[in-house]
């Protein structure tokens, strides 16, 4: 199966590989996996707790090229978004951007799950912080 150019690009030059210390203020961590293929994906966001804007995002994925590309792309998209905007990222957006074939759609689902898990973790740790919606 041939990977699309974008998948190959993200695989060869993954963006934002790395991690933040879990307990750093503003950091939300999502760790998810796909038992069918044994992939594990960790995605983290670092949110400005004053504004609710995601200032940085990092990932580490052990899995196939599509899983790596999906999470790499997700971190690119997360940066600069508010927590509420980030929650709107859908796996289908990733599928379209990376032109993933049907057998690799589960990789994009995994990336969406990772985003959701990171946002949930952030919200649980910062229950009173702003979500970064339009100024009131």
């Amino acid at each position: 199966m041939a990977y699309s150019e974008k998948v190959v690009d993200h695989y060869n030059n993954p963006r934002n590989v790395g991690s933040f210390a879990k307990e750093t203020p503003g950091v939300g961590t999502g760790l998810v996996g796909a038992p069918e293929c044994g992939d594990v994906m960790k995605l983290q966001i670092r949110v400005n707790v004053e504004t609710g804007v995601i200032e940085d995002a990092k990932f580490k994925t052990f899995g196939c090229g599509s899983a790596i590309a999906s999470s790499s792309l997700a971190t690119e998209w997360l940066k600069g978004k508010s927590v509420d905007e980030a929650a709107k990222i859908k796996n289908t957006d990733i599928v379209n951007e990376l032109k993933l074939p049907p057998v690799k759609i589960h990789c994009s689902v995994l990336a969406e799950d990772a985003i959701k898990a990171a946002l949930t973790d952030y919200r649980e740790k910062h229950a009173s912080a702003p979500a970064g919606t339009t100024a009131r």
């Binding site: 038992p35 293929c37 594990v40 960790k42 790596i68």
Partner: protein, 208 residues
């Protein structure tokens, strides 16, 4: 008709394999195209279809672990219709552990595999193989029995336990394979017995 029904069997996990084989032979003979040579063309076509169905059913039920995977798919299909799918999830602790092992492996590879590192990884792999075996034994033993004897109301919980154990087994296999690949361990010891299907699936996945 599901694969259990093909053989006239209830949806149970502990199957007498000799009995299954007898049922398979009997049905295979009945539908075999060679015995249908005198039949009308549309009957021949039906026999061919039935023959393919019997073969598929036997493949699905023959191996105890494959049988559990099939049962889970079958039961989930029914759940889907009722709009209640639950994704198979491995325990979070396991996920963390698998992540840490993969991370350590990546670091070890980047730093060059010294003899000491190799010995550590090799010992870790042995431990993980033992856990993999334990998980398979648990699936085929107590968990399969748990499903077979469960009252209808208990079945969702039993199914969840089966799914979690299958997920655990799948993760363990991945790290064992990845450790094996890093160590250049190609003696096939782990993948030799009954693992061919899983290995093919794994290879087809093109992990890097």
């Amino acid at each position: 008709m599901d694969h259990f029904e093909v053989f006239g069997l209830p949806r149970r996990l502990r199957i007498d394999e000799a009995d299954l084989q007898r049922r398979f032979y009997k049905l295979a003979r009945r539908h075999h195209p060679d015995f249908q040579a005198q039949a009308a063309p549309d009957e021949q076509a039906r026999a061919l279809e039935a023959s393919a169905g019997v073969n598929a059913a036997y493949r699905a039920l023959r191996h105890p672990i494959a049988r559990i995977e099939y049962l889970v798919r079958l039961e989930e299909g029914r759940e889907t219709k009722e709009g209640a799918t639950v994704k198979p999830k491995a325990p979070p602790v396991l996920l963390e552990e698998m992540f840490e092992i993969q991370e350590a492996l990546a670091e070890a590879k980047a730093g060059g595999l010294t003899d000491e590192v190799r010995a550590t990884l090799s010992a870790q792999r042995e431990r993980l193989i033992a856990r993999y075996r334990d998980e398979e034994a648990r699936l085929q033993g107590p968990l399969a029995e748990g499903w077979d004897v469960a009252a209808p109301a208990e079945r969702p919980a039993r199914l969840a336990a089966l799914k979690e154990a299958l997920a655990t087994r799948a993760y363990l296999r991945t790290v064992v394979d990845d450790l094996g690949a890093a160590l250049g361990d190609t003696d096939g010891r782990f993948t030799a017995d009954g693992e061919i299907e899983g290995r093919d699936r794994h290879v087809a996945h093109h992990r890097h």
